[in-house]
């Protein structure tokens, strides 16, 4: 191999490097070959003495990491599967129990929302009833009673409407949270009360 052939082959193997790094390496090896020739070696011998382009490239690019110890994957997998099946009465029932707990917690959250709705309806309905009763008081010359019940009617409707708003908001929030949790878990659980 001639010097230029050596350098050409080396350059080809160093394509991964930056221009600067590649040029620096080529300069180094060119110099090494020149020095040996100056020492009296022929070009052939000098090139042979500095090693092969492959060796040079290997050192330049950095020592290769030792290969990853290859674990026999197959053996492990069947062993694992057998264990999983054998243990299933335990872990499967635990999993179902955990799931049931989560589900009941989730449903009780919704139960709260439903009761908010129920309260809202109840309170709002009380409003007109109170109003009617208040008017009847006025008609029956019970002014203080009448005013009390008419005032209370407005209060009931106000509170009722706030409860409506609250239950609507919480329902929306829970739906949004549910959607986010489901997306994160990535595994589609039973379709919960989500929109």
């Amino acid at each position: 191999m001639t010097k230029s052939e050596f350098l050409h082959r080396l350059s080809a193997r160093l394509q991964a490097l930056s221009e600067n790094d590649r040029a620096a390496a080529l300069t180094y090896w060119s110099e090494m070959i020149d020095d040996r020739m100056e020492d009296g070696m022929s070009e052939e011998d000098a090139v042979r003495a500095v090693g092969t382009p492959a060796e040079a490239a290997a050192q330049i690019l950095g020592e290769a990491l030792p290969p990853e110890p290859h674990k026999p994957q197959r053996k492990r997998k069947t062993w694992e599967i057998v264990l999983l099946i054998l243990g299933s009465p335990v872990w499967l029932s635990l999993l179902i129990a955990a799931f049931a707990v989560l589900l009941s917690v989730y449903l009780s959250v919704w139960a709260v929302v439903i009761s908010l709705w129920a309260s809202a309806i109840a309170v709002t309905v009380t409003g007109p009833v109170s109003l009617v009763y208040g008017i009847s008081c006025l008609i029956g010359a019970d002014v203080s009673g009448g005013l009390l019940y008419i005032g209370a009617a407005f209060a009931f409707v106000g509170i009722g409407l706030s409860l409506f708003a609250l239950s609507l908001w919480s329902a929306k929030e829970i739906c949004a949270l549910t959607a986010r949790l489901l997306r994160r878990k990535n595994a589609p659980l039973k379709k919960e009360k989500g929109l």
């Binding site: 390496a25 110099e31 020095d35 100056e38 060796e55 040079a56 050192q59």
Partner: protein
């Protein structure tokens, strides 16, 4: 020999080769030859490592119509050699202790 250990040792060898006078690649290899076999391939990453650690500096000088790179040790490089000598005194003591009973007179 342990690869990391050898790498560290060869680093110090190269530094020692340029301790007294700046030298160039091929000359370093020739100087080390009676003691340690080193090839261009092995030397190159060592020189680069020592340069980036600032244990030596590189200068190009003209020689017979071409440029040749000369490597010069830095004060930090000299310190590295001294550290190495101290470390090895320790190792020698340990070695002497370990082989204490094994010397047959």
């Amino acid at each position: 020999m342990d690869i990391q250990l050898k790498r560290g040792l060869l680093d110090v060898c190269v530094l020692a080769a340029i301790k007294d006078v700046p030298s160039y690649g091929y000359q370093i290899i020739k100087d080390m030859k009676p003691y340690v076999e080193m090839s261009e391939s092995t030397l190159y990453p060592i020189l680069r490592r020592l340069e980036s650690a600032q244990l030596l500096t590189v200068q190009a000088a003209e020689h017979n119509g071409r440029l040749r790179k000369y490597y010069r040790i830095t004060p930090a490089g000299v310190r590295r050699i001294e550290d190495f000598k101290m470390e090895w005194n320790e190792i020698l003591s340990i070695y002497r202790f370990v082989t204490k009973g094994e010397n047959h007179d």
